[in-house]
Subunit: 479 residues, 2 copies
């Protein structure tokens, strides 16, 4: 389905599309409900073999763009459980609440601000209790004694660890303001009503950057102001989503008005994506002032100031925070990649040659696709074919994440790989052993050449005959 077609769906079609994506995620091993054999656990999901690879690829793409391709950002990998004072300083203990109501009839508990009307989703129209505030942090008690002083929280965001370690990072690296600290990791929020598949979960993974910049008073000519750094990061992040294959047409900035901002923030722009269930946030890019570092200075008594050698001044840096949701980005990729298309029946199937069939194909960008190349021996019980295919597999495995696929007829295997989003299939057949039947001069193949295979493209379904020795270069070229 083209972008345009997906955008023009009616609400019912959109919901149908979402159901198909959930079903495919389970069927092909992208995402399973956590603890499914025990009936599941609301708000928790597991990534299967393909989903685990998608997540790996996304983490790597983010880390490369944010850390490796720059000189002004370093990484951090902090603990999920931290000192409880951190969450007092950050404001989460006092203020990280959602309003909650109980249905007086069914006793169900709901988020007050998300009920469509005064109508309980479980049991119809009737009365709710007054809204009360409900803290979204999950607590736990490390240490041998279960006392209030040992009570702490599973982090509701990765960001605070970066602020708490700001001075350590500054003291142990050669970074100077402006610079950033990046982190990827799990966070937990006890959402009252998890929903929209993995979009709003109780356990999720964040990719957060805190980028520390000069207060405007110290900015010299030719340097970026705080507002310009904010603008810079909004644009950088849009470009990143495009680089992983999400089109700009489905990505939208949501610029917060001044009155919508927290008192310490000077700007916030969300990057929203057109999900089948609506336009929703993938990432927020906030200019948070010096709020977080100042709060930690106040609560810990430790100085969070930076000495600027050039400006000969001490200040607490301003912060730009691009904060992305990894699970949401996976979900956006799944939604965008999902395509159903009518095609002519595959050669080699039992269908008449002019019959149409529908194929499902996950159109992931190659760099994000869980498996890059599948290697298919035409028949799995012909040892000579299998041995040759293994040789091809070992060659490709050094360069790309590969999958061995020898089950079922070739047409079915191609469909299977389409549903996994594998960009290229390499088939080893009898021609490989005997010699090619036709010329393909662009791939250096002459009729009669041995050691040729077919290379099949996921999107065009075109197959070309190519020499094994040219495979790595040709796949790299198409990447």
């Amino acid at each position: 389905m083209s972008d345009k077609a997906q955008n023009n769906l009616t609400p019912t079609q959109q919901s149908g599309l979402m159901e198909k994506i959930v079903a495919l995620s389970k069927r092909r091993g992208f995402i399973y409900p956590s603890s499914e054999i025990y009936g599941g656990i609301n708000g928790f999901w597991d990534y299967g073999p393909l989903g685990a690879e998608l997540k790996r690829n996304l983490r790597d793409a983010w880390w490369r763009a944010i850390v490796y391709d720059r000189t002004d950002v370093v990484g951090l990998d902090a603990s999920i459980i931290m000192h409880p004072k951190i969450w007092e300083a950050s404001g989460h203990v006092a203020g990280f609440n959602d309003p909650m109501v109980d249905c007086k009839k069914c006793k169900g508990r709901w988020r007050a601000d998300q009920l469509p009307e005064t109508k309980c989703p479980q049991s119809g129209p009737h009365e709710f209790t007054e809204a009360r505030s409900f803290n979204l942090m999950l607590d736990t008690y490390p240490g041998p004694i279960r006392s209030e002083e040992n009570k702490t929280y599973l982090r509701p965001e990765t960001a605070q660890a970066i602020f708490a370690q700001f001075k350590n990072v500054l003291d142990t690296t050669r970074q100077k303001v402006p610079f950033g600290i990046a982190q990827i990791g799990k966070a937990f929020r006890n959402e009252i009503n998890p929903r929209n598949f993995t979009f709003r979960s109780r356990e999720f993974e964040q990719m957060e950057l805190e980028f520390f910049v000069k207060p405007d008073a110290f900015v010299k000519q030719g340097e970026r102001t705080v507002a310009q750094w904010h603008e810079y990061w909004v644009e950088e992040r849009f470009r990143w989503y495009e680089s992983i294959g999400l089109p700009r047409t489905k990505l939208h900035p949501k610029v917060y008005e001044k009155k919508e901002l927290a008192h310490y923030a000077s700007a916030c722009t969300d990057i929203e994506f057109d999900f089948p269930f609506g336009r929703q946030e993938l990432e927020g890019i906030a200019a948070r002032g010096d709020f977080d570092l100042s709060q930690h200075q106040k609560f810990s008594g430790q100085k969070m100031e930076y000495f600027d050698e050039e400006a000969k001044a001490r200040y607490i840096p301003q912060v730009i925070e691009p904060s992305a949701g990894l699970d949401r980005t996976v979900l956006a990729l799944l939604c965008h990649a999902y395509t159903e298309e009518k095609i002519c029946a595959q050669a080699g199937t039992l269908m008449p040659p002019d019959a149409e069939e529908t194929r499902i194909v996950m159109r992931f960008a190659p760099r994000i696709a869980p498996i890059k190349v599948a290697v298919l021996p035409l028949l799995k019980n012909k040892e000579i074919l299998v041995t040759k295919a293994q040789e091809v597999f070992r060659l490709l495995q050094k360069h790309f994440v590969c999958q061995w696929d020898d089950r079922g007829n070739i047409g079915k295997r191609y469909r299977y790989q389409d549903e996994q989003g594998t960009p290229w299939c390499v088939t080893v057949d009898f021609e490989t052993l005997e010699g090619a039947k036709a010329d393909a001069p662009e791939f250096g193949v002459n009729a009669g050449d041995q050691d040729t295979v077919t290379l099949r493209d996921r999107d065009s379904m075109k197959q070309v005959r190519i020499k094994i020795s040219d495979l790595v270069a040709e796949i790299s070229r198409r990447w």
Copy 2:
């Protein structure tokens, strides 16, 4: 310090060595105490910029060896919080306990089986309470109601998620027994007394493989028995630790006797490493029978059987479990890499040429080193040098994780990079712009050539003059 020298240290020297490693970890940004500005939190650690890279490299090396370089293992990335029934089935609710005693004088709480004598570590010789059992799982309450039925646990191991998703993975991949499911992720144990730096922490990361094999009754000639698969994985894992730079001389198998094994297990071998604080476990490789899958079948009512097409039989597979600690492996690498050596004073320092100085160098294997190449402009305020160095940096950055380093004199920068374990430094100097002074025909350099830099080796400290265009190939060759 050579391996041999480190092994021959007295207990006091060993403890001194450990203190140095802890200090260097903080000083250079490998590992910080979590929440340090709030006085820390016992049993939790944060990985700084270099530590985060070490962990990334180890995760990647493990995933490559276990998943990508094979065809019979797939990945999983499951949630930390799972259904509480999982921990009933696994035996953790009833049996994951340590014996705990209270000191009657200072009220300190200790692990009964680890007290050296009847002597409280805090307040000397006196009386303890009777030992009581203490469950090591941290609990929390997801969901809007804090009720016993919503109580669950932070996973104390990643393994159980693999067993719980065994059928889903089997149904959604093309794997057949023997095959494995691999996972890397955080786990939590409420250790009574965390100790030995990061070795025994309350939050840690595991790299676990569950490898499912045929019961011996179905093994055909030429196939491995359960015991042979166990042996196979022990050897594979030893080879992996060698591949990341830990020498076999410091790695030791600890084979459990039958009477030491759990009732369901048929074998267990630990891989131990010679830490400065003693010989301790990095990984356990256990043959766990069909215990875990059978327990989940019993507790969930879902069939965990596998239908073996060849054997025309249904069975619950046997499991071999290589379970490695990521933090422990990082610690082993830090301990092994740490080297102090007396060297002649560096050219360019103010010391007399025959003076000796001590350098600290982290001898990481290149594939594990956090930074592969540092690029050093000789002077940071000569624009022409800096511009050239940036050009070199951008070239190398495409191939290796690089660091820009322009602060302080070159000798100090080399020492700084030595402490970070950076295998190669590339220095851009005036000769780069003007032309080389001497021939270095092995690197294609003739006196007078422009575009040459010095490439300095961390371990030998040897510097060679080399053409910029040959840098990538030469570094790749030395890797």
